[in-house]
Symmetry: C2
Amino acid sequence: MKQIMHIMAGFVLILSAVYADEGMWTFDNPPGKQLKEKYGFDVTEDWMTHVRLSSVRFNDGGSGSFISPNGLVMTNHHVGLGQIQKLSTQENDFVKNGFYAKTTSAELRCPDLELNVLVEMENVTEKILGTAKEGMTQKEALSARKSKIAELTKESRERTGLRSDIVPFYNGSEYWIYRYKKFTDVRLVMAPEEQIAFFGGDPDNFTFPRYDLDMTFFRVYENDKPYNPPHYLKWKTAGASDGELVFVSGHPGSTNRQQTVSQIEYARDYSYPNRLKNVERRLKVLRDYASRGEEQRRRAVTSIRGIENAQKAWTGEYNGLLDKNVMAKKIKEELNLREAVNANPELKAKFAWAWDSVAAAIERSKMMFKELTFRGVSGKLASNALTIARFAREIKKPNGERTAAFQDANIEATKYSLFSPAPIYPDLEEVQLADRFAEALDMLGSNDPWVKAVLDGKTPQEAAAFYINNTKLGDPAFRKALIEAGEEEITASQDPLIAMARRIVGIGDEMTAWQEKNISGITASASEAAGKARFAVYGKDLPPDATFTLRLSYGTVKVFPMNGTVAPSMTTMYGLYDRAYSFQNQPEFELPQRFKDGVNKVQLATAMNFVTTNDIIGGNSGSPVINKNAEVVGLIFDGNIESLSGRFVYEEARNRAVAVHTAAMIESLRKLYDASLLADEIEGIVTKPEPPKETPLKTVKPATKKKK
Amino acid sequence: MKQIMHIMAGFVLILSAVYADEGMWTFDNPPGKQLKEKYGFDVTEDWMTHVRLSSVRFNDGGSGSFISPNGLVMTNHHVGLGQIQKLSTQENDFVKNGFYAKTTSAELRCPDLELNVLVEMENVTEKILGTAKEGMTQKEALSARKSKIAELTKESRERTGLRSDIVPFYNGSEYWIYRYKKFTDVRLVMAPEEQIAFFGGDPDNFTFPRYDLDMTFFRVYENDKPYNPPHYLKWKTAGASDGELVFVSGHPGSTNRQQTVSQIEYARDYSYPNRLKNVERRLKVLRDYASRGEEQRRRAVTSIRGIENAQKAWTGEYNGLLDKNVMAKKIKEELNLREAVNANPELKAKFAWAWDSVAAAIERSKMMFKELTFRGVSGKLASNALTIARFAREIKKPNGERTAAFQDANIEATKYSLFSPAPIYPDLEEVQLADRFAEALDMLGSNDPWVKAVLDGKTPQEAAAFYINNTKLGDPAFRKALIEAGEEEITASQDPLIAMARRIVGIGDEMTAWQEKNISGITASASEAAGKARFAVYGKDLPPDATFTLRLSYGTVKVFPMNGTVAPSMTTMYGLYDRAYSFQNQPEFELPQRFKDGVNKVQLATAMNFVTTNDIIGGNSGSPVINKNAEVVGLIFDGNIESLSGRFVYEEARNRAVAVHTAAMIESLRKLYDASLLADEIEGIVTKPEPPKETPLKTVKPATKKKK
């Protein structure tokens, strides 16, 4: 490898000059050279460790950080929203009205929130890749790797007692065990009104200038006491100035920057157009439901929000793919890499086949596109039924052959989620399921075996109503009892939704098997080869694709061209009121009463939101923005519309991460939320909240179980 | 014609349904049907007359309106800027500091401002078109028409004493005499600081959301007394609400909506790319000059502003032409029209040749593109020299054969401008002229006769320095003396700039003659034919292209999609402060001290700027936005970036006119400018300012002459 690296050195140099602030870097491989050369910053191992151990992963898809010695965790309101909603009732709508616990005893325990802190990273590349022996078929190699992954995961978990995930990087050129300290006793401390957290609503989502107070504070508990993290981030209310170097430490979900051209073309011509059609359909169903009344709106709002969010993101990504320059850049990158591979006999022999192999698999994927896309259910009840039916089939297999969710290492998490006492709304479940059935009928026809199995001679509406009205799966105890009773009981269950799940789970498994054999199995190994080729040519001078693992990105606070003019690098609270009064009572731009009444209490010139060139993507929500001293200067909550094509290409000129300014958080807490105690804790003015009193645990109906 | 109209009626109906709020309508032909059907508004002749007589044309390229019974005229700061600048001195920089005359006696007379009010319109189509006799060559027909125009103009001016312009509409399908009451005693009443009038500077120019107080108030005098206009617009401080029908009455300069596809392709492939290259060059020269010092900046700022403005506008227009959909729409429109023409034998015989004839002329234009583009001078001194040299050649010709500027009807205006006492800055003139010479040398080569004539063996820098340092044309008295001495004196003049002008004026005339014969003469008659064809097919159901004549456009106050979200239909003063503090002291976004200090005096929720769907273009600057009652609700000052392709296509979804809100004007006058008297006059609270006192006329050096 060294010789190749040496040969390519000139090329790599050019790349690093071009790649600007790009990259979501793993914590074992920070971009030290770039930081030194471009910003004169020496990133140390201690700095990296401190930031890593202060970073928190919200396992349902977000990021956060410890910001006090007493386990205070900062994240976005939209990351915490699911929990805030679960803690709300019709009488106490914390989503609408906000929440603040003045004392720890008033903090509310979240029903099913898991937070992780990445405490150890171990490179196990050799162990994993060593499973592939001379003479194995692809399938055998895949299976051997899968077993090894399951084995290592289990071993690690048992030895360390830590959540242990085996994560591939660089398309499988490296494998690491990431060990997490896990927290499930997490309590809500403060959440503003959704109306100010998500000010501007869907219209302003993924845009800047912006005026959102998208923050929520939780506290992590251990043994019923506030947890004292060994590392937490200090706070800087003054924030960062224009042009200042800043970092984002968080958990970007996924990027597709190393996909082959054929994969990206498939995404452009198949996946995105269909996805966008589908979300329009889902949104219609949810909005119709939400329009039935205030309570329905409350129930559906998180899902609507999520789908609107996805819709805008996908539209932006899709537009990125339709941009000929983006596509030309991708094509050129791939050509360059393939030329470098072909120029070296060893690399050519090992990797040159990869791109055409992916292309062939993509062609097969097009054949089964409809089945792969439209055979699916909606709603928690149907999903739970499928999990239970699949449990019966999977649990009897050897650990290494099971689907990931049912392997020993994950089964506990799967059950935790399955047994969640969070409320389920049958009327909502029914309309969602009916629509999915109707769509499948439209797209696949009435003779499709899966369609036959779900409809069972009924219309989509009848079938959905029948299942939802007659299932007992709404009761967490029933779900738990079924799982605990085991395979036989599940197979014998007369519950109509379980029966339906039993009928389709086989069809799904068949489809999965076909897909694995003809598509994903091949693209997995071919992508691995392409990734290894890239790794052989460029090494770790380029960061790997995002995988919802902890990453560090760097950048600066910076203006960008927008709407024919320039967007400022920050906004102020003046702008919040401007946008509110400009839209004169339109719901998305309505201020909470607290903000209307409090206009004269706040300093209107206080910085509200700001943008940076940091390379982030979905999953980074809730990430702290920190300065060179690892002080919090902001809270990531979004990217601008131009950042959406960042899934495929990062473009420093226009790609911006959007963050809440620390000044806005403190100003609001002190002046509008009567939350000076919390502000004091955040700013480090007091370092200990008073100890929790009696009944430290407040849960809400219908949460019937307490979990550790 | 009636039969054709009848045949096409169905088609026309479809068109009017499609064309939405499009159109800059002449006052003889308001869009009554559209207003009635779409908005239920009955536009009456009285209403039209009232609005027309309240509208004012600023002859140097803008619009305005009478807004008080005492001749108060409202326009934009950027329309008045040239005059404000001429009234300023180093000691009294009204551009920078603003100006307010508390009494009429403090009002400052503008050195060379002419305002026009359109008092009469007479259709002279038959008289003009009747000059074309059977058997005439094209040249003879053109010449006959030209003579007729000169004759009618002169006759009208002499008979009525009014400025009389003959204006073609519908590509020459109609000709009208527009008679204007003319005012040259116009005095500055109030101008805010340029910094707030043009807040956001070039970055925000042509965009919205916006926060500009782009207003200036003049007063028209007659016989040294405030003029009492028979019509003026009443005022409505509350403005217009979202969705409300509003009108703009003003003077759009020009549109190219009826150009043929070959003309538009020429614009796309030749004119715009070159223009944009040229303005970059001009800007560099001016900015280098402005960077020499504060006084140089002050001198160059209007020109820089104007060119930056043009640059952004042209970039937007050019981008419009590069948009395939825009081009496809134009191609389709032309195809439809040509099909309709070909389907009718009479129309086919008369007009079918037109499009190919234009295309052939365009091809010839490409051959002479460089000569037509780069043979030109810059600066006032060189322009004045050319005017004087040309005067000597033209004045001896019969009136009808002279270039328009030297015809009896226009000679007075030409002299008025030539003799203007406005200051000329030789150092600025020199760098501008040197750059034009250098550019011509680059593009045309040293053997080009025009280049030879201007350089006269010197380098561009040497030549420019020689001319500017040795000419006496900086003195208005010298210019006047030369003209009054007449042809012989001019021909004998040893002034080096006059000598140069004599050398090139012949080359210019030759080029003009060639161009007239091979291009403009042909495109004029062919465009006339295409326009007549269009007129024959659609009649006056479609409005004619803009020609800097008074037009009425209608539309509504309306949001539009922007930056991935929605732009509000109005902004507030909160937003002004937001943008200022967001950019932290960047010069374009710096607030005048008055606004910084006065933040607590104003109601921040006051509406600042707003947008409407009205179809406007450059020249409409300063137009009043009025409601159904003809009350002023705003002051047009710009269009959004998407409106720029409106030169070729109007698109209601995104095209927006941008206006100052009446509330912002009154709020600022009362709370920040200590100008309650003026606000009272505007709002109609007092109807008479006190009579002018002694020395009513304040002019500034170097204004040596008083003009009526």
